[in-house]
């Protein structure tokens, strides 16, 4: 009986749905409040993200006539499910994740691409003009930031000599000076994550001023609440992933102290995301692709060659 209960606790409570839900609410509040203070205004009180979520759940779901009903209704659940499974392979309270095997870094990246595919299908199955434009923009941006993200993760894999997230975190814990050598790949991964989360400057797909809601135009009620929750949870998972691969995870600590270190380090990574959002304007979709291929890919490839050189000497 206990054997069946423990995986359920891992998926549903810690570090699964409930923990991620609460932490993402707090991080969303910090994001909005810090942005507001930097804009010289007051900002929302702490219960605002929970109030938004509860309000959205209580509203009616309206489905367009021409939409594909099964896909329309089931896509938000697919998005949340894939993100929750991916946190099981990222070290949270110690440098051993709950599931680890060689090659799990590829599985994590694959699971984090599934939400983007669900956004595209959500816009496509809505069959309204603004949703179609939004979903086309999602796919165009995907060609921009996925490649730099994958390539910049390959750098630490080469120098650590393994394809498992937990092993890379342990490698950087033992040789902390190598963290500074991987800074180009860190910058490239941070900017690519900003594009993956569809935040300013890369939020062209659901830009309010141009395409009214992008891929989310026809969504309402609890389906929209789950989609927005999935974006917030993805922010925490990406912060934890970047922390484990580039910054050494939770170092040598474990248990409750390791958990505290994890919270502090992911908090600082999310702060960098907030600073990007405040400082820049929205960039057009074709300019995103040009910028990524000119700067981010070259940074990542430079990092790969540097790591190969260090490894072979």
């Amino acid at each position: 009986m206990i054997d069946v209960l423990i995986p359920v606790i891992y998926i549903a409570i810690f570090p699964g749905f409930v923990f991620l839900g609460i932490y993402s609410t707090i991080i969303q509040w910090v994001d909005r409040k810090l942005t507001a203070i930097m804009h010289n205004r007051v900002g929302p009180p702490i219960y605002q993200p929970i109030a938004d979520f509860i309000k959205l759940i209580s509203k009616e779901v309206i489905i367009p006539d021409n939409a594909d009903v099964l896909m329309f209704k089931s896509l938000p659940y697919v998005a949340i499910a894939s993100i929750i499974v991916s946190i099981l392979m990222i070290p949270v309270y110690s440098n051993n994740a709950i599931i680890k095997f060689q090659g799990d870094i590829i599985v994590v990246l694959y699971l984090l691409t599934i939400p983007t595919a669900t956004f595209f299908l959500a816009g496509w199955s809505s069959t309204s003009p603004y949703s179609t434009i939004g979903s086309m923009r999602v796919m165009t941006q995907l060609f921009g930031y996925e490649i730099p993200l994958f390539l910049s993760v390959a750098g630490p894999c080469i120098i650590a000599g393994s394809w498992s997230v937990s092993d890379i975190a342990k490698f950087f814990t033992e040789h902390p000076s190598y963290i500074f050598l991987n800074i180009p790949a860190l910058i490239s991964a941070l900017l690519a994550s900003q594009g993956k989360l569809e935040r300013v400057p890369f939020d062209a797909p659901h830009a309010k001023n141009e395409v009214v809601g992008g891929q989310f135009t026809e969504y309402s009620g609890r389906l929209l609440a789950l989609f927005l929750l999935s974006i917030d949870i993805e922010m925490i998972v990406l912060a934890a992933f970047i922390n484990a691969v580039f910054l050494g995870g939770v170092f040598k600590f474990s248990g409750f102290l390791g958990f505290i270190i994890f919270i502090i380090k992911t908090f600082f990574v999310c702060l960098v995301f907030v600073l990007f959002k405040v400082a820049m304007a929205r960039v057009r979709v074709d300019q995103v692709v040009k910028f990524s291929w000119k700067y981010l890919v070259s940074l990542s490839i430079f990092q790969i060659f540097l790591n190969l050189y260090i490894k072979l000497n």
């Binding site: 930097m38 804009h39 010289n40 400082a279």
Partner: protein, 133 residues
């Protein structure tokens, strides 16, 4: 022109230590300057009933009517009554007034004045029709 990425970021970070620029209305009173054109106030002692204010009002918001109680005429030294100055009331429709203060400018006896009162919202329509006596 030179391009500087993240141009506005240093300035934005400086605001983390400053007070917000939002005024905490309605918990603090709003600041109005002395010249502000708020609700119009009527002094019936000075009004002579020429109705010039009704002629210039762009919104037909002001109405001068004869008061229902007129002052009693006084008797002069030779026993004849001196005709008393007639008393006028002013009916002001706050929902029509645009607060332009043109009636204030044109009144020859300065019987109308602008106050600084601007919080005039009510829940019932009848309360917006003020009758100054």
């Amino acid at each position: 022109m030179a391009k500087k990425p993240l141009r506005i970021l240093p300035h934005a970070i400086k605001h983390l230590t400053k007070e917000p620029a939002t005024a905490k209305y309605p918990f603090e009173k709003a600041k109005v300057y002395p010249n502000f054109r708020g609700r119009i106030v009527f002094d019936s002692e000075k009004c002579i009933g020429c109705k010039m204010c009704m002629r210039v009002c762009p919104a037909k918001a002001i109405e001068i009517v004869l008061s229902s109680e007129q002052p009693t005429p006084q008797t002069g030294p030779d026993g004849n009554p001196i005709p008393a100055k007639k008393k006028f009331d002013c009916i002001m429709n706050l929902d029509r007034c645009v607060y332009c203060a043109q009636c204030v400018d044109i009144c020859p006896k300065k019987a109308l004045k602008s106050s600084q009162d601007f919080e005039l919202a009510q829940l019932k329509r009848e309360k917006l029709k003020l009758h100054y006596k």
